[in-house]
Point group: C2
Chain length 471, copies 2
């Protein structure tokens, strides 16, 4: 009996493995539910779950909470992950502005946005937010007409409440609300550093960060960063010793563009380093809620006992970028950051902050996030499949566990700016790698955004991109 | 016939003058319409208008477009205007933060806000704005969910269009939209100056301005300022020669707290000075639309041929502070300011900017402004009357031609911070003069806000204030 059962689950597992190897089931495809397997194959629920466990252990499929099982990364065509980046450890200032301006001015020409910094409208709860905005006009006694000098108290409370999911001990009064995450980063930088100071960032890094730092007179050091585990801590410590770093800014969960997530041990070690060298960290955690796994990843702030971490985030990547709702929990720099907000902005948009606060008060946000995460995870798997099928053999690609960016590295001879200029003729946009650094590097790399509705056109666009990159 | 007619109009005029002198008619009171005079006195329209012209020429009454005639400032009890301020012409940094914090933390205790920086809710078109917000959700294709990276084009167009009223030649592409006027000032300062540079401002000056300047590392020079004509240009030129001023920031129309309006000739002369010494001006024109006269005052920007003037404004004082809708027309510094906005904020709140843009497209804004101006003018006249009736004999008070602030100067021995602490016990708040400077001065002054619904309680509050100041 026991042996027969074993045979059955192995039979099922082997059968599915065959289908995956032969391409009947492709990366990102959803597998039948356990119940369907029971009915189709006439087996017990314990046999079907054991079969799926076996396939999981072989790295062929993966489960997603409350959704089901999917064919996972371990596809025959799955590309390798790029190696750790190797930026020069000096203050660099070779501006990527020209490329960024090109992309911005071409924005209206594209109709397939593989360059988008936010999820497509169809993935966001537009109707619910509109309704919430009307509700906010009623729930705010002044309909949001007057200044909101202290920040929306409900919003601060909800952000503090949600911090429990990553072991945060934040209280309402620890939060400063801002008009989006960039403002949180800007206020934090201005609170911590002066013209001439040096800031350490990841490499590649979202271009807005070094450009912001430069605009307030900071020098920027890019650090070697691994696509899976994030910033190399050895390199960081070297920089602490050699370069007189005044502050750090890292995206510790699902960084943009690499998608790296610092392992818990690294986060802990990083906080220790910050304390040892007395260097504060601006932790840009704006993608943290977009995890593919079954729990919210921790943050450096989770281990921050001394108040050295300024934990920043926003709802721009999950609800609405146009609302401008972000925050920072500035740790021991609270009063400084509050003062800068007071002088530079006085108040945020009262209605938008109330709308988001109301949205967080009940299950709406979690329900929306669950769907959004599933879509983004599925899209990521499918993008891997398309890349496997259409991109040159030697292409490397990141394997993020959250967010909606993929970092693609072609062979050394591919010039992604040239590629961009070709693709935009076909109304397809992506972001060339050169945008993500102040050094002359990543010219053979690009960033793809997966935050869109997948359809044949998107597959066609990736196919064309792969074809052109192969030339 | 001609002589009899003259007699009649003089009879009427003299009769009204008597009523004013005897206090039957008080400053701020509305006079009967010309038509009512005709009916009541059985005279012709030409006689009644001639009577009012005569009273106007005697400085006893004044007409307000489309509203009627009012008893004007020239009341027997009307107080003198303070003289030109005499700040030290050195970089000062004696922070008024403590007082500002006191006022902020006491805000909830007051129920008569003579300290408010914005008009009371009852003077603002709340219902129309709410309706406009719902309309904006429909008129924006993405309901305002996504970034608005280039600024709302309709809003920029409307701001440019309205610049005609002061002889501006602005085009849509000359405008950078911002989240309120403070952001416009902050971006302009950051575009023009670096840590250690010196900025020249009025004195007294809205406290947000020097605190913002200091927060980005600027030194602040306060200039002698006249309550009627604004900054003394001779002193400014001396400062240009002596203090290496990097930039100026003046509120040229209805400054806060003085209410001064630079005469056209001074504005012209100021622009010439800026050109001669190559110093840019941030022209903070946020009260310009709130004039009491019959036309919109000109700006320095009206005479700016060389692009040295960065003209800033917002709708915070006329429609909604909580929406955060402002702008700057940065002249020749356009690209610099655009870049700073792009790095520090990415985008403003899309829905609020669309709502205001729609509001400006038809007559709604002008109709609202007309009513608001009338209320503020009437309030100002009435405040003068209350001050005349209740404040100590030697009180000096500004006589603004727009906006909603009055600057009151008591005898040297009065301490307005002490006065504030007494009044807040009675739930009445105003702003002590010490808040409006980085030097230890104006301790016997205060700012009153007239942007509220006048009623017996307000009169009672001013009476109490006057009584306590008399001790």
């Amino acid at each position: 009996m026991e042996q027969k059962k074993e045979l059955i689950y192995l039979q099922i597992a082997n059968g599915i493995e065959r289908q995956i190897k032969h391409g009947v089931l492709k990366v990102g495809d959803k597998l039948p539910s356990l119940r369907t397997i029971c009915i189709e194959q006439g087996v017990s629920l314990s046999s079907s779950s054991q079969a799926y466990l076996e396939l999981e252990s072989r790295g062929l499929i993966e489960s997603r909470p409350r959704t089901g099982y999917f064919v996972s990364f371990s596809h025959k065509n799955l590309r390798e992950v790029p190696t750790t980046s190797q930026p020069r450890l000096t203050n660099a200032s070779e501006d990527p502005e020209e490329i960024i301006n090109t992309i911005t001015s071409n924005a209206a020409r594209a109709n397939i946005f593989l360059s988008s910094g936010v999820p497509a409208l169809s993935l966001l709860p537009v109707a619910k937010l509109n309704k919430g905005m009307i509700q906010a006009m009623r729930s705010l006694p002044d309909s949001g007409i007057h200044y909101e000098r202290q920040g929306n108290p409900k919003l601060k409370q909800q952000i503090a409440r949600r911090s429990l999911s990553w072991g945060g001990k934040l209280r309402e009064q620890d939060i400063v609300t801002t008009s989006g995450c960039m403002e949180a980063l800007a206020f934090s930088m201005m609170a911590l550093a002066e013209r001439g100071d040096t800031i350490a960032v990841e490499s590649p890094v979202y271009y807005g960060i070094p450009l912001l730092a430069q605009s307030i007179g900071l020098k920027v050091i890019e650090l070697p960063t691994h696509p899976v585990t994030g910033v190399e801590l050895d390199a960081l410590e070297k920089a602490f010793k050699k370069n007189r770093i005044k502050l750090c800014l890292f995206v510790t969960n699902f960084s943009n563009p690499l998608g790296s997530m610092m392992p818990v041990e690294n986060k802990k070690a990083l906080v220790k380093l910050l304390e040892k060298y007395n260097v504060p960290l601006i932790e840009d955690d704006l993608y943290g809620d977009l995890y593919f796994g079954d729990h919210r990843p921790l943050t450096c702030k989770s281990f921050d006992e001394s108040g050295m971490v300024l934990w920043c985030g926003s709802f721009s990547k999950t609800l609405s970028a146009g609302y401008r709702v972000g925050w920072v929990a500035p740790g021991k720099f609270l009063e400084k950051v509050k003062r800068i907000k007071h002088y530079h902005a006085i108040s945020c948009n009262a209605l938008a902050h109330e709308t988001i606060a109301n949205f967080l008060e009940n299950d709406r946000y979690e329900n929306h996030l669950r769907k959004l995460r599933q879509t983004l995870h599925r899209n990521t798997l499918q993008f891997h499949r398309f890349i496997g099928d259409y991109f040159p053999e030697d292409t490397l690609v990141s394997r993020p566990q959250g967010g909606f960016h993929l970092w693609v590295e072609f062979g050394k001879r591919t010039d992604t700016i040239e590629l961009y200029n070709q693709l935009i003729q076909h109304k397809i946009s992506f972001t060339p790698g050169r945008a993500f650094t102040l050094q002359n590097q990543y010219n053979n790399c690009l960033r793809l955004s997966t935050g869109l509705m997948l359809n044949d056109k998107v597959e066609g666009a990736l196919k064309l991109l792969g074809k052109m990159a192969s030339r």
